[in-house]
Symmetry: C2
Subunit: 390 residues, 2 copies
């Protein structure tokens, strides 16, 4: 087992109708002014926003709301949030939404505690020194943003998608109520589930060079996510299925999947996926469903990672027989088939990307080099993975 530091201080408040349990957390931290951040209309239509507003009012906590955070959250909305937070001298940011809303809340939390423009932190012109605390209510599981230290924001002006990461961004408390997710369209649930799965697998595929118990806990999570997504069409309001998905999604990208490993995971599919999401506005989970199986095939064709892919095939995908006993190849194929079985695209062409778009995508992804450890990426490899994914 490799040396690691694991720090996951978020208080997880998990279960149906647990949103009211967030109020004592704000009280204990002596917070009396919060900026609420939301996505689209669903949190209003469902009554959730109104219920939270009532709870805040009853608790004497002043609040304003900025809504309209989109998937692949935008810099402009973050700037709007920062201005609103400063206007009310917010002491905390309270996202109600999925990963995009949590990511935006973290960026707002940094911007509201600084005089610099938030994009300067994303381009590493400035280092984060302070951030308001984030207390959130999750309405779609997948990114682990409810517990991790990361925010990914798109700059629509430059078509760049960059990550912000700092310990100060880790939410203090997060309500994860699986029943709040019943109303999310099933295709979005699948995108988010594939996102969570890919977080486990980015770590798992790094190598088998860790202890057996680490491999086993990753396998338990990956298997569970796959089982739940497969059963989802008949289990939309099955609390246990939605709970397992929500539970595994919390830990998939909390750092937990990469404890005891030499590195924090490969993350090539994520980085190239950010380019695809940034330029073509493809949902994050869809980019991963396209890129990860194709990255596997690209790696396989170069004779690498065979033992890991073989264990993936047998321990996670449950493959018992493979043509020519080539379990590694069968594993990559089974992953692609699984994504397709969810009704998700498995090639870039299906989302409107043409071969002539590859240079621009490769150039964009190359801006966040270095990344990749199974194959340390360079512009040529990036273009190669993109061609494989065409």
């Amino acid at each position: 087992m490799h040396t690691f530091t694991y720090h996951s201080p978020t208080k997880i408040i998990f279960g149906q109708d647990t949103a009211p349990n967030l109020i004592p957390e704000l009280h204990n931290a002596k917070i009396s002014r919060v900026l609420v951040l939301t996505g689209g209309k669903s949190v209003y239509a469902s009554g959730l926003h109104g219920a939270v507003a009532d709870l805040l009012n009853q608790a004497g906590i002043r609040h304003e709301t900025v809504s309209g955070v989109l998937p692949n959250p935008r810099l402009s909305k973050v700037r709007e949030g920062v201005a609103a937070a400063k206007a009310i001298q917010a002491q905390a940011i309270l996202p109600i939404g999925g990963g995009s809303v949590f990511d935006s809340a973290k960026a707002v939390a940094v911007g509201a505690a600084s005089e610099y423009d938030i994009w300067d932190f994303m381009t590493r012109k400035h280092t984060i020194a302070a951030a308001l605390p984030v207390y959130g209510i999750l309405t779609l599981s997948g990114t682990s943003s409810e517990v991790n230290n990361t925010a990914v924001i798109s700059n629509e002006a430059t078509q760049e998608k960059f990550a912000l990461a700092h310990e100060l961004l880790i939410p203090r408390a997060a309500v994860v109520d699986p029943a709040l997710q019943y109303s999310v369209p099933l295709n979005q649930v699948c995108y988010s589930g594939v996102d969570a799965l890919s977080h486990v697998l980015e770590a798992y595929f790094e190598s088998l060079d860790t202890s057996e118990v680490i491999l086993e806990h990753c396998e338990a999570y990956a298997k569970t996510i796959i089982r739940c997504l497969r059963g989802l069409p008949g289990a939309r309001e099955n609390y246990d299925v939605r709970s397992e998905l929500a539970f595994c999604s919390i830990y998939a990208h909390s750092g937990w999947a990469s404890v005891g490993r030499a590195r924090r995971g490969d993350f090539t599919s994520h980085r190239i996926g950010h380019a695809l999401g940034g330029i073509f506005d493809v949902p994050h989970g869809v980019t991963l469903g396209i890129l990860m199986p194709n990255w596997m095939r690209y790696v396989y064709d170069r004779g690498l990672c065979r033992d890991t892919f073989t264990r993936f095939a047998t321990h996670i995908m449950g493959i018992k027989e493979a043509p020519d006993n080539d379990f590694a190849l069968a594993g990559a194929q089974a992953f692609k088939d699984f994504v397709r079985s969810l009704g998700m695209p498995v090639s870039m062409r299906e989302v409107g990307v043409k071969e002539t778009d590859i240079p621009a995508l490769a150039e964009n992804a190359s801006r966040s080099l270095p990344f990749g450890c199974v194959i340390p990426m360079d512009p040529e490899h990036i273009a190669g993975v993109l061609r494989q994914a065409l």
Copy 2:
């Protein structure tokens, strides 16, 4: 999956030679005066205490040391620690040791932040309102005290063993260096490993009424601990084996094994074990090795928990065939055989307890009622489990 709150804010610093990484944590918290707490001579003989003292000196952190914490840690030593902490106006407590030293550090942390005697908090005469932060270095894994909110202290005057539990007691950071544990006598490593295993199983045996992924992560941990303890005689300085034991021990009693469950676990064996430890000074892990298999048999004989014990037998103990297909009974027997195979006692007689001691033990254990959920305990059941364990 049942509603739960999980909060494990300790920063885990895991790996060989990671003790120096604790210093930046103290610095970041602006701590300049600490009370160091240790057990016996081993931390001096190994040079660890000297190395930590050097690190603290180099960092300009004033420190005093109180040593001599014993297994089944004593109230008198806690009071000595409180006095020493107050004398130097300590801002933090720094245990270097195993669970007993960490438990004592937590109690000192409470006592040093209050005018009341520490025992008044244990008897619930007073409620904890403040505690100094604890930053520790673990030298023997088993209790999860490095990450949980609990301290168990024995009052040698009254022969009582009580627990103190509060969120403020959770260590801020803990160094877990598996190589520091090589020098611990193997019988003590076994006691501590059985302690960690029992923490997982107290939760697991509660019932199967939770999600599959929760059962699977508990099974991964329990199986790993059993595998490592079985292999220990030939693997004393095998870093991977010791790492897996240390890793599973962190999470066994962090609250992680009981997320998603209706309750926090059964813990009958622990409560009765505290009586056994309090009166006869039997090491905590030994009391569990005696009581847990016998509690299982007592439960089995009343027709309860059969499905859980059956899954335990097949999924954790790896039993493939059982006489009369009675896997539940085979599981209880296999657990007892496993404890015996470690050279540990499996009956109270082996540690000098006689039948005539049972009333006093039962009376002592009854003082901490209510406990037990598989069988809600009462004085009669407590005496019954003790007779079974004779």
